[in-house]
């Protein structure tokens, strides 16, 4: 079975400071990892994904994430936070050995609050 843990319910960061949203995962095979963002009353928007290759993945809106196989982590980062980054962030995983069934398993989400 696959699982995702987002250990922080909420992360508070001052505008202009770097931000990190943590994610750890568990899968049997090779992990496919995703980050999504959700704004109020809207669906999930794709930010970035790791499938294979470079451990540092760059995505939308200046976000990036670092895949660490030994620590089974995929933390989301941004060098300089904006107030508009305030939203709910979800980490998701899919086992690369899942065959045709490739639905994502999501974490419970982390509220990111950027203070002006």
């Amino acid at each position: 079975a696959q699982s995702v843990a987002q250990p922080e319910d909420q992360v508070n960061v001052a505008e202009g400071n770097p931000l990190t949203v943590k994610c750890t995962y568990s899968v049997s095979g090779n992990p496919y990892l995703f980050w999504y963002v959700q704004y109020p009353n809207r669906g999930l928007q794709f930010l970035l994904k790791y499938i294979t290759g470079d451990n540092l993945v760059k995505g939308s809106y200046g976000f990036e994430a670092e895949f660490n196989k030994s620590q089974t982590s995929f933390h989301l980062k941004k060098p300089s936070a904006l107030v508009s980054d305030s939203a709910l962030y979800f980490c998701a995983v899919r086992d690369g050995w899942g065959g045709g069934a490739d639905g994502l398993t999501f974490g419970k989400g982390t509220h990111l609050i950027i203070q002006p």
Binding site: V4, Y32, F34, Y36, N41, R42, G43, L44, Q45, F46, K49, I51, F90, A92, R94, D95, G96, G98, G100, A101, D102, G103, L104, T105, F106, G107, K108, G109
Partner: protein, 115 residues
């Protein structure tokens, strides 16, 4: 490019009533998913279609939930009869690529309230 469309956006029903949700995926996307997102939780997969065939429905409560994608494009998800615990946002997603590495694009969701 148009995104994933869902309707209705909001629905309020009494318990034991039935309800249906509709999803139109991004044009050309063969894979379609339905997720349930309960307040305070991450989305949970209910069912995955590849064209008009079911790939995974292992987490679908089949005694009350059903879904179909008859022509391999639009899909409907039905609940009959609804229970209080079905109150959630129902998200539809679609993907172009197969094999799990494809990006899933989500619609705005349907918020269901069961009274």
């Amino acid at each position: 490019e148009a995104g994933v469309a869902q309707s209705p956006r909001y629905k309020i029903i009494e318990k034991r009533q039935s309800v249906a949700f509709w999803c139109n995926p991004i044009s050309g996307h063969a894979t379609l998913y339905w997720y349930q997102q309960i307040l305070g939780q991450g989305p949970k997969l209910l069912i995955q279609f590849q064209n008009n065939g079911v790939v995974d429905d292992s987490q679908l409560p089949k005694d009350r939930f059903s879904a179909e994608r008859l022509k391999g494009v639009d899909s409907t998800l039905k609940i009959q009869p609804a229970k209080l615990e079905d109150s959630a946002v129902y998200l539809c997603a679609s993907s172009l690529e197969q094999g799990g590495f494809g990006t899933q694009y989500f619609g705005p969701g349907t918020r269901l309230t069961v009274l």
